[in-house]
């Protein structure tokens, strides 16, 4: 049984569905939900996500039935049919996707009855039940992907051996999704493949429509998008691998090797790609030698966030930057099985660092774990403590960082104190951006 969440850092499944659809090219989400659901999630999908903006047709423009007492009492299917028809008439899109809120599901509205009235029309209309009580943002992402793979992606009998699909980088909930997709795509391009990310720059809905031609689906996560990959495999026969999100040399090397092996690429070729990337990466990384040593920029670190980011950040801090990320707090809703899978990514560090790993959704507990790990000062003369410390987390961690007097960089959702456009932290080039941001936080307060 689930419990309450103190300061949650995600919205509901409906929010995840809106977020995912809002950034899918020329896709028009249509909300069948109580008055307010759309407006409620709008700020979280904009201001809490590095000021992403309203998108093509979300924010206040999001089509919504705004169901109220009348629909809740008498049923809202007619209102939904009217809303779909008028949305198509008014809004210019290539795919119309109906999603639902809690209330209309609870009263038993069946969106299929409305959707089937548009079968055979000029534009595709599909839909899914995404009521908030089904789960958080990630659940909405998963439901939307599954529905797209089942109801929108076309069957392909001829496969393209040089084409792969990539997901698991969750738009908006990963605030740097756009940059990260481009960076990972770039790495895979260097392995000789073309990549569909569905959401990335230069892609259209056709990339998604024809994605069943791919030879492999790469889920850059152990948790998000895995169920959708199973659906894809079931419906279209494309196998998948699930690999951790990579940041920095150690993470990216392991990523490239696992992908290389799944695709049957010769080791020698993968070695060459890695070597070239490392050459570029360390040519910059080594420039830090002076400042890193002169100012002693090594830090103890706490990493707070989702299961994708935390493992990548901790690995980068420990094995690339040589820091001591001794405490990691993962704030997702995860099953015991998922927790075990995630836990494996925090072992076997080359640096020998073994972070203390905690699964906890409640923000207030982070301070307690810090005190538990490093001890609490009682004013004694000799005290080890979380010092010099650094917190990599979300805007919610600004409070604890301020309280403890340690610097903090906001890299996990919610991010309301930074503007994010195409910046990404994935791979080799992304890790250099992250290094700039982390160390700038330190030298910026000199």
């Amino acid at each position: 049984m689930s419990k309450f969440v103190e300061r949650p850092r995600y919205v509901c499944a409906l929010g995840g569905a809106v977020g995912t659809l809002k950034v899918l090219p020329r896709t028009i989400p249509i909300l069948h939900a109580a008055t307010g659901c759309g407006g409620n999630v709008a700020l979280a999908l904009n201001q809490a996500a590095g000021y992403l903006g309203s998108g093509y047709c979300a924010g206040q423009a999001l089509s919504s039935t705004n169901a109220s007492e009348r629909e809740i009492v008498f049923g809202g299917e007619d209102r939904l049919t009217e809303q779909i028809a008028n949305t198509i008439k008014l809004i210019d899109g290539d795919l119309y996707f109906v999603i639902t809120g809690c209330m209309v599901e609870m009263i038993g509205d069946d969106i299929k009855n409305s959707i089937k009235k548009f079968d055979g029309g000029d534009v595709p209309v599909i839909g899914a039940e995404t009521g908030g009580f089904h789960g958080n943002y990630y659940k909405g992402y998963e439901i939307v992907l599954k529905t797209l793979f089942r109801d929108f992606v076309e069957q392909k009998t001829v496969k393209d051996r040089k084409l792969v699909n990539l997901w698991g980088v969750v738009p908006i909930q990963d605030v740097f999704w756009k940059g990260n997709m481009a960076l990972i795509k770039d790495l895979l391009t260097k392995l000789g493949y073309r990549v569909n990310t569905f959401f990335g720059d230069g892609e259209t809905l056709d990339n998604l429509r024809h994605s069943a031609a791919a030879t492999l689906n790469i889920v850059v996560s152990d948790t998000f998008g895995v169920e959708a990959a199973q659906v894809f495999q079931e419906v279209h026969g494309v196998p998948y691998i699930s690999v951790p999100f990579p940041i920095g040399d150690h993470g990216s090397e392991s990523f490239l090797r696992r992908v290389g092996s799944a695709l049957g690429i010769a080791n020698a070729f993968v070695d060459k790609v890695i070597e070239r990337e490392q050459g570029y990466y360390y040519s910059y990384f080594e420039r830090l030698g002076d400042v890193y040593s002169d100012l002693d920029l090594q830090r103890y670190a706490v990493v707070v966030g989702d299961s994708n980011y935390t493992q990548a950040l901790a690995r980068f801090l420990a094995d690339d930057l040589g820091w001591l990320p001794e405490l990691v707090v993962i704030t997702d809703f995860l099953t015991d099985e998922q927790q075990d899978t995630v836990r494996r990514n925090f072992a076997g560090y080359e640096s020998g660092i073994e972070p203390e790993l905690v699964f906890d959704t409640d923000a207030s507990n982070i301070g307690k774990y810090i005190a538990g790990h490093w001890g609490q000062s009682n004013g004694q003369r000799y005290f080890e403590g979380f010092n010099p410390g650094f917190i990599l987390g979300s805007a919610i961690e600004r409070d604890i960082a301020e309280k403890l007097g340690v610097p903090q960089l906001t890299v996990t959702y919610p991010i309301s104190n930074r503007v994010v456009l195409d910046r990404g932290y994935a791979g080799y080039a992304g890790a250099l951006r992250l290094t700039e941001d982390i160390l700038s936080t330190l030298v910026g307060s000199r």
Partner: protein, 513 residues
């Protein structure tokens, strides 16, 4: 008005016959409103808006030393996620020891929908009390528990016996109303029932009464006004209004935003409730009058010279110090007029469309008109009798305004896009959330309000004139993006009647644009 014996307040559709869909001229709206048939209007296509829970948070997330418990699935109250890292700064302007937002979501899931969510609510309240030891725990009820029949009042009544914090239920289920502003009634309802009143604070030890002290206290109360602030105003706005009232020798208590829960207990010990905005405060003011006999004023908002003058004179009349107020007004207006000249020269002849809350846009329109700007149209979130009074005032004050377009709807940027394409104003003055769309049409934007800028009182007039001039000095940003961005509407939408999707029954008379 006396609803506070009920557990939940009525919705504004019923209480005020508020309207959320209209399109026509100002003159038509005024006439239709008087017939009282606008509340039935609806849309056959609608875009998303906030609910009363979302808007309730605008006040509740400012209350100091409290914890908010949102009893709902995990997404309700999502705006808190966006404000989590930044709200502290605004709180600190009022209280240096503020600690930022503290909230809990009860995370109702599929099982709870079947089995009920009262246990989760109970555990969240107990956690809030134990973890933070707050003065108040504010429990917000949402759609799902309301539909499954959770009795949050019973849970609260039971827990109040074991919890030191005052527990305040706020019934703000989104599906119950399309008029978001019902939120204010929901919040004030909770405050009136659970925080206001002599029984809400501890009795001091009985001592021998000191008659002189009692007299002094009585005098102090007779000169105390409650200024009811709104979360859309800035600290600078508050300071300006306090300064004006203090120069009339009045004591000012500011409620409800950024107040401490204990500040409400003796809030009835005041000579007058001064509303900044009728949309915000009529429920509270009326009840304070019914229950405690505190008179109130809420006719206007102190935006623009005319309305600030009126606001001050309304207050002064209650204290019979109109002459003093006249002198204050004369000196303030004299100084202000002298500095406005260069801005008026720059702004005269420019055109504007405004969008936002009814009270705010109608008064801001008067302010812009006084600076030489021509008002092409207005878009109000909703419309009720308080808007009607101000609209009639505007029709009187501003020549030619009867022909200006007025469109009622919460958000609904598709209607805004159509209007902007037709009217092509020099500036759009809009409520946050709808401004980006105007920018994408190449129209420069002046935000209708902002928590870091001054809009109210005499200083507000100068500040608005100055900032509007600044914004129009370089409009490159909007001119650049219009070339590369496009709105989602089909091209033929812009040739259609902007109010085609409003089902306004008797009010439908078409538009001559």
């Amino acid at each position: 008005m006396d609803y506070i014996r009920e557990k939940t307040p009525p919705v504004r559709e019923n209480r005020l016959g508020a309207c959320m869909a209209f399109g026509g001229s100002c003159c038509e709206l005024s006439a239709q409103s008087k017939k009282g048939c606008l509340y039935n209007n609806n849309r056959t296509f609608s875009q998303s808006q906030g609910c009363q829970l979302t808007l309730s948070l605008a006040i509740l997330n400012t209350i100091r030393d409290s914890v908010i418990v949102v009893h709902s699935p995990i997404g309700c109250g999502a705006s808190l996620v966006a404000q989590a890292g930044i709200a502290k700064g605004f709180q600190k302007l009022r209280d240096p020891n503020a600690f930022g937002l503290r909230w809990i979501n009860t995370n109702l899931d599929e099982l709870d929908v079947v089995n009920g969510g009262e246990e989760k609510l109970r555990s969240a309240i107990l956690y809030a009390d134990r973890e933070y030891r707050p003065s108040a725990i504010i429990v917000m009820n949402s759609c799902v528990p309301s539909l499954i029949g959770d009795d949050i009042d019973a849970v609260i009544e039971d827990l109040q016996k074991q919890v030191t914090a005052k527990i305040v239920p706020v019934h703000c289920e989104g599906f119950k109303t399309k008029i978001q502003a019902t939120a204010y009634d929901a919040v004030y309802h909770g405050i009136l029932r659970h925080l206001v009143g002599v029984e809400k604070y501890e009795d001091p030890d009985p001592v021998i009464p000191d008659e002189l002290e009692e007299l002094k206290e009585k005098y102090r109360i007779s000169r105390t006004v409650n200024v009811l602030n709104v979360s859309s105003m800035s600290r600078m706005d508050e300071q300006e209004l306090v300064k004006l009232l203090q120069s009339l020798d009045l004591n000012v208590r500011i409620l409800p935003c950024y107040a401490h829960p204990d500040d409400f207990a003796d809030s009835y010990e005041a000579a007058l409730n001064v509303s900044i905005c009728a949309t915000h405060d009529d429920y509270f003011s009326e009840h304070m009058k019914t229950k405690y006999g505190v008179p109130f004023i809420l006719e206007t908002i102190p935006i623009g010279i005319a309305n600030t003058n009126k606001w001050l004179l309304d207050i002064a009349r209650v204290f019979r110090i109109e002459e003093r107020a006249q002198k204050l007004i004369a000196s303030e207006v004299g100084a202000l007029e002298a500095v406005l000249t260069p801005y008026r020269e720059f702004l005269t002849g420019k055109t504007a469309l405004l969008g936002g809350g009814e009270i705010r846009i109608l008064t801001t329109a008067e302010l812009l008109h006084s600076l030489g700007i021509q008002i092409l149209g207005l878009r109000g979130f909703h419309f009720d009798r308080y808007g009607e009074a101000l609209l009639d005032q505007l029709l009187e004050d501003v020549p030619a305004s009867e022909r200006a377009i007025i469109n009622i709807g919460t958000g609904q940027p598709f209607e805004q896009a159509n209007l902007l394409a037709r009217l092509k104003p020099d500036v759009f003055v809009g409520h946050p959330g709808g401004n980006g769309w105007a920018n994408k049409q190449g129209i420069p934007v002046f935000p209708l309000f902002g928590q870091t800028y001054n809009y109210m009182g005499y200083l507000g007039v100068f500040e608005v004139a100055r900032r509007l001039t600044r914004i129009l000095k370089n409009t490159s940003y909007s001119r650049n993006i219009v070339k590369h961005a496009r709105l989602p509407y089909r091209k033929d939408w812009y040739d259609q009647d902007p109010f085609s999707y409003i089902d306004q029954g008797v009010a439908d008379q078409g538009m001559a644009l």
